[in-house]
Amino acid sequence: MTVFPYLVACFVFLVGLAGVVTSRNLIHLVVSLGVAQSGTYVLLLAIGYREGGTAPVFGDVPQTRKAVDPVVQALTLTDVVVGVTVTALLLALALQVRKREQTLDPDALHTVRG
């Protein structure tokens, strides 16, 4: 086990969040959020990884084989599903903004403030 996957996870997560904070385009913003979410996939999978382990499918494999942790894989799948739902919803909102304001600039959104 090395520290490398954790560095990758941390980097991807932070780069995604930096994109969200500085974004000048709503689609770019939504995709940046997806990038940050990918960081969590890497983190989860890295936590469950075992050197030399196979996929955790025990149907026809003898149970003595070493396998990676199936729990984090289930978590990652759930995480992916959640991410897709949020992304779809946000893109629908972005489309609606474009229809109304003819722009994808996040600043076109601010009608409520103060």
Binding site: F13, L17, V20, V21, T22, S23, L26, L29, L33, A36, Q37, G39, T40, L43, L44, I47, V71, V72, L75, T78, D79, V82, T85, V86, L89, L90, L93, A94, Q96, V97, R100, E101, P106, D107, L109, H110, T111, V112, R113, G114
Partner: protein, 592 residues
């Protein structure tokens, strides 16, 4: 009973989504209302059931074996079951209101509301970290979509977009924290996590993990500086949705922090420094929310900031880390949630009948809405926690617990901040429904400048405004009389004492032991608490009168506060990350 609380709305929602459009709209609405009402009944049964001892339910019969938790467990103690009951009660009222007030509810609205309800009951009862995360996201996604329900207006677009992005970032922070906990303990079940962590020294990983999970839940609760999305979203969501958002969803964030701390981390983070840190966040939130509420002319945005301010008070009450503080907070949450829901419904009625919810434009125009006006004014007063009604009991328990800890300065501070927030609501009510106060007030933040139509609109569906205001009046009445349930304070304290007992909880979940809930102590408000609450009520009235006729505030700090609330999503995410960093940094300084 427990799985039905989540399964029932989950089964009805897709069924409605599939066949709803072929049915008459009235059938859809009735099915949704009956479902929510059935969940409320089940939730109340569960509360009664759990008074003698928490009920734990392992899905699919996967009980813990050899002290290792295997499956997904729901834990219902009276406090979390009470939150589920509050959520389903508010959902019933708000569906009943939407049935009568939206001309275009449509099957999908009901589907989303039921999904939202399932998410909230699931989050209240879930006893492992990942299930909490899943329900956290589920209620989030339904809430984003419901906020954007009137998608052809600009306000809901901004509100829903900021809401979705900031809450997703919060959920990701929480998820990273959960992943770190799993990596350290190999467990997601909170009882198991608690047992494993308690036997080890507290190191950086544990601190960072707790900070991330707590920050994620604070986003949902609208704690400063995670609160910016909340005032954008609640100001624009349909009134019937705000009932659920403000009445219970925000408070579930606090519940999440309480559950994760006591069942998971209380063995490794002692209460001294954590109390100070959480109190700091709570007081900052209560103060900023109260001041910003005072500055709003838009009634819904004002109530949104009141929600933030009260979330701060709830966090402060929980942060005492005593059973009395927790019990008081839960009673306060329940009474206050009902009152806030009634206020949002009252505003929704005003919007339906008169137009924009702008306090100054509406001056005196609500005179003919007698029932609605009464509900709004009484609701505003109820926020000041006048003894012996409604939220007073919860407030008094928190006050007394703070004084026992030697934090004698805390109750008066909370009284003053609570009075400012309540006075903003009373001021607005007096201006709109009684026509009091000056006509122009340049110090208030406006969202609408255009003039209103001269004639009040007719109620939709030809209903009398009286029938429309029935759910609001019922919620307010429920909030006010809650404190009179015999022995409720003692039962809450007894249940909270059990809730904070981590080893007992672990024995129950992991070994199937049954641990007796301690007998209900004779808990009642002290004289000092009565005095504080009476003082707070009087102060509310004085401040409201001052706000109506002589609104004087220092210009520079107010303008600075306003400038912070830009409504830009990038700024809001930046504040969220900064807040998480501050929380993590403080915890690290204290415990590392």
């Amino acid at each position: 009973v427990i799985p039905l609380l989540v399964a029932l709305p989950f089964l009805v929602a897709p069924a409605l989504a599939a066949v709803g459009r072929f049915l008459p709209a009235a059938v859809d609405d009735v099915v949704a209302i009956v479902t929510a009402a059935a969940v409320s009944v089940l939730a109340f049964l569960l509360v009664l059931d759990s008074l003698d001892g928490p009920v734990h339910y392992a899905f699919g019969g996967w009980e813990a074996r050899d002290e290792i938790a295997l499956g997904v467990v729901f834990s219902a103690d009276a406090l979390s079951a009470g939150l589920a009951a509050l959520a389903s009660l508010l959902a019933t009222a708000s569906l009943a209101f939407a049935w009568r007030s939206f001309d275009e509810t449509g099957a999908l609205f009901n589907v989303l509301m039921l999904g939202f309800l399932a998410g909230m009951t699931g989050f209240a009862l879930a006893a492992d970290l990942f299930t909490m995360f899943v329900f956290f996201e589920l209620m989030g996604v339904c809430a984003f979509a419901l906020t954007a329900y009137r998608i052809d207006e600009p306000g809901p677009l901004q509100g829903a977009f900021n809401f979705a992005v900031v809450n997703s970032v919060g959920a990701l922070l929480a998820l990273v924290g959960i992943a770190l906990v799993y990596g350290r303990t190999g467990a997601l079940n909170l009882a198991q996590v608690g047992e494993t962590l308690a036997g080890e020294p507290t190191d950086g990983l544990v601190i960072v993990a707790f900070a991330l999970v707590a920050a994620g839940f604070m986003v949902k609760a609208g704690i400063v500086p995670f609160h910016f999305w909340l005032s954008d979203a609640y100001a624009v969501a349909p009134g019937a949705v705000c009932v659920l958002l403000s009445g219970v969803m925000s408070d579930l964030g606090i519940h999440g922090i309480a559950r994760v701390y006591w069942h998971g981390f209380s063995g490794s983070l002692d209460d001294g420094a954590l109390r100070a840190i959480l109190l700091g966040f709570g007081i900052a939130t209560a103060a900023l929310g109260a001041v910003m509420a005072w500055l709003q002319a838009d009634l819904k945005r004002m109530l949104a900031f009141v929600t933030i301010s009260h979330a701060g008070v709830f966090l402060a009450g929980t942060a005492l880390l005593t059973p009395e503080g927790l019990a008081g907070t839960v009673l306060y949450v329940a009474a206050d949630g009902l009152v806030k829901a009634a206020l949002f419904l009252a505003v929704a009625i005003v919007v339906l009948r008169v137009g924009h919810p702008d306090e100054l434009l509406l001056r005196g125009r609500g005179r003919h809405l007698r029932v609605t006006g009464t509900v709004f004014l009484l609701g505003g007063l109820a926020m000041a926690a006048p003894p012996p009604f409604g939220s007073f009991l919860g407030r008094a328990l928190v006050d007394d617990s703070a004084r026992e800890l030697g934090l004698g300065w805390l109750p008066p501070l909370l009284v003053v901040l609570g009075a400012v927030a309540a006075a903003a609501v009373v001021r607005a009510g007096a201006r709109v429904f009684l026509g009091l106060g000056v006509e122009r007030d340049l110090r208030l933040s406006r969202q609408h400048e255009e003039e209103l139509e001269a004639e009040p609109k007719r109620a939709p569906s030809g209903l009398a405004p009286f029938a429309l205001s029935l759910p609001a009046a019922a919620l307010l009445a429920a909030g006010l009389v809650l404190a009179f349930l015999p022995g409720i304070a003692g039962e809450a304290v007894a249940d909270a004492s059990h809730f904070v007992d981590r080893p007992a909880y672990a024995r129950e979940v992991l070994r199937g032991a049954s641990v007796e809930v301690p007998p209900a102590p004779d808990a009642g408000p002290s004289r000092v608490a009565y005095a504080y609450a009476l003082g707070g009520t009087a102060l509310t009235l004085v401040l409201a009168a001052a706000g109506l006729y002589r609104n004087r505030l220092p210009r520079a700090p107010v303008a600075a506060l306003r400038r912070l609330h830009t409504g830009a999503v990038g700024d809001e995410v930046a504040w969220t990350l900064a807040g998480a960093a501050v929380l993590g940094g403080l915890l690290a300084l204290a415990y590392a």
